[in-house]
Structure formats: C-alpha cells, structure tokens
C-alpha cells in the first residue's frame, strides 16, 4: 500500500513540478506548485514525520503559495500567457538540467549507502518541542533563535522594501 502511495506521490511531484515550470499561465503554475508541495507533505507523512508534514502543509502549501498568489494578482493579468521560451534557451537549459540529473543520479546510484541503525526514534510532539528548546548536544535552541531573528528581520525588511516611498516614486 505504502509503495503505491509513494509512487503516486512521486509521479505527482515530478509531473506537476514540470508543469509548474512550463505552464504558460502564471496562476496555473502557482496551482501546480501547490500540488507539488502538498504531495511532498504526503511523502513526509509516509515517512512518519507528522509534525514536519503539518508544517509543510500549513507554512508552505498554505502560507507561501497564498503569498505567491497574492503577488501574482497584484502584478499580473490572470489571462496573460507567457511567450514561448526561445528554443535555443530551452534546449540549452534543458540540456544542462538533464546533464545535471544524469551526473547527480550516476553518483547517487553508485554510492553504497550504509545500512540504517535499527533503533529508530519516535518523533512525537514532545520530543520535537524539547529538542527545539534544549541547549544540550541534540538541542536546537540556537538555530531556533537565529531563525526567529531572521524571520523578524525578513518581516521588517519586507515591509520596508514594499512600502511606497513617499511622493518621490512614480
């Protein structure tokens, strides 16, 4: 069952990510991106990282995509279609991407991954909360705080950048 679900999600991810970068309508692209993100969270569910999956759903699929959709609405016409990509450019970029894929996969597939250790950790909310706020060896309080500050800074920055600058503009 899990196998079927995995391959379904994988197929959705690959298909829609491809569509997201090739769709000529921007809102469609955003929706395709949403599908990709949701499928990714599905993968996380499969891997039994429920908290992460939830975060992925709410933050990514919810927050970011909504943000993107907003900005699309602010800046683009819904019915605008992108011009076709120049064939040369598409071929070059596509070629490069395929070459990258080949190289990366060739490395990945040949790499002998060590077997996993057996004592898997149960990831419940309590563990996550403790780890995030603990400052011992496996604690993450420092990155957590750093991210907090980053978020705050980003918020202020976003406001400042996007603010209209008096009458000098326009």
């Amino acid at each position: 069952m899990n196998v079927v679900i995995f391959y379904t999600f994988a197929a959705i991810i690959l298909l829609f990510s491809l569509l997201a970068v090739t769709s000529r309508k921007i809102l469609h692209a955003a929706v395709f991106l949403l599908f990709v993100l949701i499928s990714t969270s599905g993968l996380y569910f499969l891997l039994e990282y429920y908290f992460l999956a939830a975060v992925q759903l709410t933050l990514y699929a919810g927050g970011i995509v909504v943000l993107i959709v907003f900005s699309i609405l602010l800046t683009s016409g819904i019915d605008d279609r992108f011009p076709l990509v120049k064939p040369l450019k598409a071929a070059a970029s596509g070629g490069l991407a395929i070459l990258g894929i080949v190289l990366a996969l060739a490395a990945v597939l040949r790499f002998p991954f060590a077997a996993a250790s057996s004592n898997a950790l149960v990831v419940d909310m309590k563990t996550i909360g403790r780890s995030l706020l603990s400052y011992d060896v496996n604690g993450y309080v420092l990155p957590f705080e750093a991210i907090s500050i980053l978020l705050l800074a980003a918020m202020i920055a976003a406001i400042v950048v996007a603010k209209k600058k008096g009458e000098k503009q326009s």
Binding site: N2, V3, F6, A10, I13, L14, S17, L18, A20, V21, A29, A30, L33, V36, T40, L43, L47, Y49, V55, Q56, L59, Y60, I64, L67, I68, F70, S71, I72, L74, T75, S76, F82, K89, A90, S93, L96, I98, G100, I101, A104, L105, V108, F113, A116, S117, N119, A120, V123, I128, N138, P143, I147, L150, L151, M155, A157, A158, I159, V161, A162
Partner: protein, 105 residues
C-alpha cells in the same frame, strides 16, 4: 522507513525535482515563476534532508529539524522576495527579469 522503497528512489525524485527547479529558474522570465522554481529547489533539498535522516540516521533528528528551518527560511525568503518583486513591478511596471538589468558594468 517505508518498507519496499529504497532510499535511492526518494533521491531520484528529489534530484529530478531539483533540476526541474533549476531549469525553471533559467528559462522563466517572470520573477514570480522564478521564485516558484526556487521553492521547488528548496523543497527537493528538504526531501533529501528528511530522507537521509529517516533512512540513515533514524536515531537522530538533524535532518528533520533542518527541514523545518529551511521551511522557515523559505517563508522569510518568499516574503522578502515578494516585497522586492512588488517594488520592481512599481519601478519597471513589469516583473520581467530581463527588464531589471540596470545592475551591470
């Protein structure tokens, strides 16, 4: 760990997704779609983190947490990026990346 699915299959998915993101970044002229490509890239990286964590070091949570942080960073980045995009749009009345090429020479 999901029984029956090897690690490499996840990696194949994330790798392809990564390069699709790169492809999108290189061919898409619209700033917002470029941003979306970046999200794809970040997402593929996240998958890797998580999968490595799950398959190779299940007794630890580094990958898991880093994914969370990456998501947070992505959110911040998206917010700032969109602020910039809106600003660019005001300035050039377009969000075509080729228009925004004043920073040269």
């Amino acid at each position: 760990m999901i029984a029956g699915i090897p690690l490499t299959h996840f990696l194949i998915v994330s790798t392809i997704m990564f390069f699709i993101g790169i492809y999108g970044f290189m061919v898409r002229k619209n700033l917002i779609t470029m941003l979306m490509s970046i999200e794809l890239i970040l997402n593929s990286v996240n998958i890797n983190f998580v999968v490595f964590n799950k398959y190779l070091y299940p007794h630890q949570l580094h990958g898991h947490f880093f994914s969370i942080f990456v998501i947070a960073v992505a959110a911040a980045e998206a917010a700032v990026a969109i602020a910039i995009i809106i600003n660019v749009y005001r300035r050039f009345n377009s969000i075509d990346v080729e228009q925004a090429s004043d920073m040269k020479y």
